[in-house]
Every structure is written in C-alpha cells, then in structure tokens.
C-alpha cells in the first residue's frame, strides 16, 4: 500500500487546520466588513423600534459577545455541520449546500470523465506526430479551448440548443421524474436513477447534464492535451522508452505502457489543480443552464444578502479544494510505485 496511515493522519490534520483557517477568515470578513449583519438580520428596520430590533438581532446572532468567543462558537457550529438557517430559503444552510454540491459534483464529474481521457488522447496523438500539421492543429486548438471563457461557451451552447429545440434546462424533467416515481437519495441524480434502475430518468438526466458538461470540459481538455503533449515529448526520450523500442516492444505497448505511463503522474497533478479551478466554471455554467447547483445558491445568496449561505459556500469551496488536492496526491502515489506517502 503506497499510502501510509502516517500520511493520512497528517493530511487530515492539515486539512482540518486549513478549513478552520478558512472558517475563521470567512467569519471575520463577514463581521468586519462594512454594513452591520445585525441590521440585515433584523431586516433593515426603520423608525422608533429600530434600535431595539437591531439589538435583539445582535443578541440572536451572538454578535454581542467578545470576538474570540464568536469565532470559537462559529467554529464549533461549522465543524458540527450546523451553519445556521439561510435567510433566503428559511432552511438549514447545510441542507441547501449538500443539494447544491451534489448537483455541481455531478456536472464536474461528467465533464472530467470526458475531458481527461479526451485531452490525454489528443495530447498523445500530437506528441507522436510532432511537427506535422496535425500537431500544429491540436496545439492551437487546445490553446483556444483552454482559454475560451466558460460562461461564454455555456451561453453559446445553451443558445444553439434552445434554437434547435432541444431542452437542456434544469437537472431533470420533473414530470418524467414524478411519472416514473424517481426519488433523490444522494442528490447525485445519475447515481440515484441507476440505483433505482430508472433508465428513462437516467437518460434524461444524462442528456441535460451533457451540454453544460461540454462547456465545463473545454478548459480541462485544452490543459490536459497541452500537458500530455509536453510530458510525452520528454517521456519518449527517456532511456527506458528507448530501450523498449530497441528490444522490439510493440509500438502500442511502448506508447501506452511505457511512455504514457510516465506522464500519468504529472497529468494527475495538473488535472487535480484544474479540477479545483473548474469548480468556478461549473458554478457559472450551472446558472446559465438553470441547474440548482452551488452557483445558483451563490448568486441567490449575494442577491438576498444571505450571509449565512455565503459563508457556508466559502467553507464548502475550501473543503472542495483541500479534498481535490489530497485526492490528486493519493492518485499520484497509486500511479507511481516509487512515490510513498
């Protein structure tokens, strides 16, 4: 086992510390930023009773306590999963966030399931045909893909689809879901539909997730293609690849088992970073496609000054980054027998 208990314990410790730092910071930003949250909580009251209402709100929010107690209290709440009640939705923030996170994760997962194999394949092809027109084309195409603004791509795809009569709005056809008795268990609709063997809903969800996933996948496809091409160019010159060629190992094995294998570790690392980066892209595209994901909630929380939801979102995003990086490290250790964590 390349991942030791020692590493996991250390990593979890660091993750907790990072999240605690983010929680503290997000709380401080909230409290110290201009505009009194208590005023917002009390609903911007005016007139004679205003001072009292604000005072009550302050007490209710615990803002009358010393700052360090407030922070500790908030930390305790955050780590028990209790992030308070959302102002806009009147529901526990944690519940809303979980629903949003599931939707966003589903979108991201599909996008990356397309992007990494596709990008890697394109990159390998380019590296094998270095200096040809195909290489040039792939190079410039991946540069364009990696730098296209995702929100623009999302809007473009959405408009093309809607003008051609394809509905790709929302996560699932509600009527179809009701008719077939689909129930959400985990919040990941693809998984839920599969577990319930509800194939009509599965296909519907897939058809609706695919277009936004394409928009999100553009960036990682471009990045993976470029990184793979560069890493492959080096890997093909490695002594062990050259030796394999000289020993008569078949071209396919040399390319995939020897050279591509050597690029995997780097590819995983870059994909991990890109994955965390794509979260923001996914949130924007979700909004365009009317999906109830984190992006939608972020937008709503800003619009309604729902600071509870906003801090919750920040914490979730931080957690997401930490997890993505840890996962990338672990996958790297699984891929390279020399790496011991």
């Amino acid at each position: 086992m390349p991942v030791s208990l020692n590493y996991l314990v250390r990593r979890v410790g660091w993750s907790i510390a990072t999240i605690a730092g983010v929680v503290i910071l997000s709380y401080l930003v909230l409290v110290l930023s201009p505009g009194d949250p208590a005023v917002k909580w009390a609903g911007n009251p005016r007139g004679p009773g205003a001072a009292k209402a604000i005072e009550n709100a302050r007490k209710e929010l615990g803002l009358d306590q010393p700052l360090y107690l407030q922070v500790l209290n908030f930390l305790r709440m955050a780590f028990t999963g209790d992030l308070g009640i959302s102002i806009a939705y009147k529901k526990p923030v944690s519940e809303i966030l979980w629903r949003g996170l599931a939707a966003t994760l589903e979108l991201l997962a599909l996008a990356y399931a397309i992007a990494i194999p596709l990008g890697a394949f394109i990159g390998v092809m380019a590296s094998l045909r270095r200096g040809t027109w195909l290489d040039g084309f792939i190079q410039s195409a991946s540069l364009v893909l990696a730098n296209t603004p995702t929100f623009w791509l999302g809007i473009a795809i959405f408009m093309v689809l809607s003008t051609s009569g394809v509905t790709a709005y929302g996560r699932v056809d509600t009527r179809l879901a009701l008719a077939t008795g689909f129930r959400s268990i985990t919040g990941l609709y693809l998984l839920d539909a599969l577990v319930q063997l509800n194939f009509p809903v599965f296909l519907d969800v897939l058809a609706r997730t695919f277009p936004p996933a394409l928009a999100v996948a553009a960036y990682p496809v471009g990045v993976c293609a470029r990184v793979t091409r560069a890493l492959m160019a080096d890997a093909l010159l490695e002594g062990f690849v050259q030796s394999a060629v000289a020993w008569g190992v078949s071209r396919r094995a040399v390319v995939w088992r020897y050279a591509f294998r050597a690029t995997l570790a780097g590819l995983v690392q870059v994909s991990g970073l890109a994955f965390a980066y794509s979260l923001v892209d996914a949130m924007v595209v979700e909004y365009v496609f009317g999906r109830d994901g984190l992006g939608r909630f972020l937008f709503d929380s800003v619009n309604t000054s729902d600071f509870r939801l906003a801090t919750g979102l920040i914490i979730v995003v931080a957690l997401f980054y930490v997890l993505a990086n840890t996962l990338a490290d672990i996958v790297q250790a699984l891929v390279d027998p020399r790496v011991k964590l």
């Binding site: 208990l5 020692n6 314990v9 250390r10």
Partner: protein
C-alpha cells in the same frame, strides 16, 4: 607534477582535524511523525590534514564522502565530535561567522557544468570569493588575473558566460575561483569525473602544479583510485561511513590491508599488463616516432 614518494617540506601543523566525528541526517520515521530518527552517514571519523599535505578521501557511492565533505565545509554540524579547521572549532563558532574560517578552504565542486550559474559571466564568478575582503578593486582585478594565469586561461575569458566554455575550461574557471582569494586549503570534489580522459590529464597536471606553487594543503574527494594516486600522497579509504584504511597512497595501492581496499585496488588493475609495462618504460608516443622513422 608527479614525484615519487614526495614528502612535502612544510611544517606538519594540522589545518584540518576531525576527532571522532559522527554525522548524518534526520529522517521522520514511523507513525509518530514528530520523532526524528538519526541516520549516521559517517561514524567515528578521525582525520588529520597537515599543512601542505595532499590527501585523498576515497570512497564509492554510499561511502559517506559527500557527508564528510559537507562537515569539513561547515555546512553540516556533526552529531558528535570536533571539527577543527585552522585551529578553530568551526561548529563552536556561530553559524553566521563561520564563513570567516571556512573561506580559507577553496572548494571546487563536482560537475562543473552544473556548478556554474549560467547567468553570471566568468568575471562575476571569479569576483565572488573576493566580495567580503577589504581589497581595493585594483587589487581584486590583480588577484583574478593571477588566478587565471595559474590555471592557464586567457583574460578574455572573463567576458564569457559558462555556456560558451568547454568542460575543461569550466573546470579551470572553478579552480581559479577556488584559489583566487589565496586559501590555505584546496578541497576538490571529484575534480575530473565529468571530464574526458585527455582533459582529465590536463587538470591533474594543473592541480599538481598549483599545489607546488601555492603551497597549500590539498584534499581530494574521489571514487577514482588511479586519479587519487596522482593527486595525493596520503589517502584514507571510506567504506560505509567509516575509515577502513589510511596511510601513504603508494603503500595502500601496493599492500591494501582491509578487504574493501583490496577489492578497490584489484578492480582498477588492468587486464593488459603489457600496457602498463610500455607506459612505465617511456610513454607510448616515443613508439610512434620510431615507427614512422623506420
């Protein structure tokens, strides 16, 4: 230059002295991450280099020669033992003042191509060791010129970047840099292992002449026994962190006592004894002359 059994006339005052030195590295091990385990790379090393002496520290990979080098250069405090350079216990001196002593060691690093900063001209490289001296600019320039003359490089080289130099020239620049501030000790780390044999011979002869001219102590760290034979009169053989043999170079080559030294010597003996015989007699090029005059 090669002198049979040469004993250097300088007084035998030790310039480097290691007493019972154990040094190594800490590694985090086991579940308790805070507990560091000490892994010694060299254990109980006793070593003495006298003024004007030529010593070779010979060891193969993993013998601890790099660790020993770092200890002498003041870069790695030993776990136990005393390190005395020019009469001072260097690890009793605060780290930020240690350079005042260790700069008396002119150090030539391994692999010239990797040791030179590609963004610095030769002139800047050469000026580095003189930076913290109270010499005037004119004196500094004079020193640099002298050093270049000793390593047989033309002054025009000062304007060059390392990438414009050949391997042999880079090594000469590094040697010049090591002696430009007139140190008392010259410390060479594998001085010829990155060079071709013909360049290796040039550098070996150069180093021998420098030792004669500047009358400094010369310590060579190497894995290459035949090269060490030319660069040193005294030798210690390191094996797995301990000194397994020490004594005059020729004595070790002729009668190695420890098992490892024996292995080392036999692996360098050539299969062609005749080749050695001819070399010993007159050098081969004389043979060509005879051949062509015929």
């Amino acid at each position: 230059m090669w002198r049979a059994g040469s004993t250097v006339t300088a007084s035998s005052k030790p310039v480097i002295e290691l007493k019972n030195v154990t040094a190594g590295y800490y590694t985090a091990e086991g579940f308790k991450t805070l507990k560091k385990v000490f892994k010694p790379a060299i254990t109980k090393i006793d070593l003495k280099v006298n003024d004007g002496e030529r010593l070779a520290i010979i060891g193969e990979s993993g013998s601890g020669k790099t660790t020993l080098l770092r200890v002498i250069l003041g870069l790695l405090p030993p776990l136990r033992g005393d390190v005395v350079v020019l009469g001072e216990q260097i690890y009793r001196v605060p780290a930020r003042l240690r350079w005042r002593i260790t700069r008396q060691i002119g150090y030539v690093p391994q692999d010239p191509a990797k040791s030179l900063n590609p963004r610095l001209r030769v002139a800047e490289v050469m000026a580095e060791p003189l930076a913290r001296t109270d010499l005037s600019e004119k004196e500094k320039a004079e020193r640099i010129r002298d050093a270049l003359r000793i390593v047989q490089l033309h002054e025009s080289i000062l304007d060059y970047y390392p990438s414009q130099l050949s391997g042999g020239m880079m090594q000469r620049v590094l040697i010049a840099r090591a002696i430009v501030h007139d140190p008392e000790i010259l410390l060479l780390d594998e001085p010829t292992s990155a060079l071709d044999v013909s360049i290796q011979a040039q550098i070996i002869n150069l180093l021998c002449s420098i030792h004669e001219k500047l009358e400094l102590a010369m310590v060579t760290v190497t894995h290459d026994l035949p090269v060490a034979q030319y660069l040193a009169d005294q030798a210690v053989i390191l094996y797995r962190g301990t000194i397994v043999e020490k004594g005059p170079m020729e004595e070790i080559i002729a009668h190695p006592r420890s098992e490892h030294a024996r292995l080392l010597v036999t692996s360098y003996l050539s299969g062609l004894n005749g080749l050695d015989r001819i070399n010993r007699a007159e050098g081969v090029s004389a043979g060509i002359k005879r051949e062509t005059q015929r």
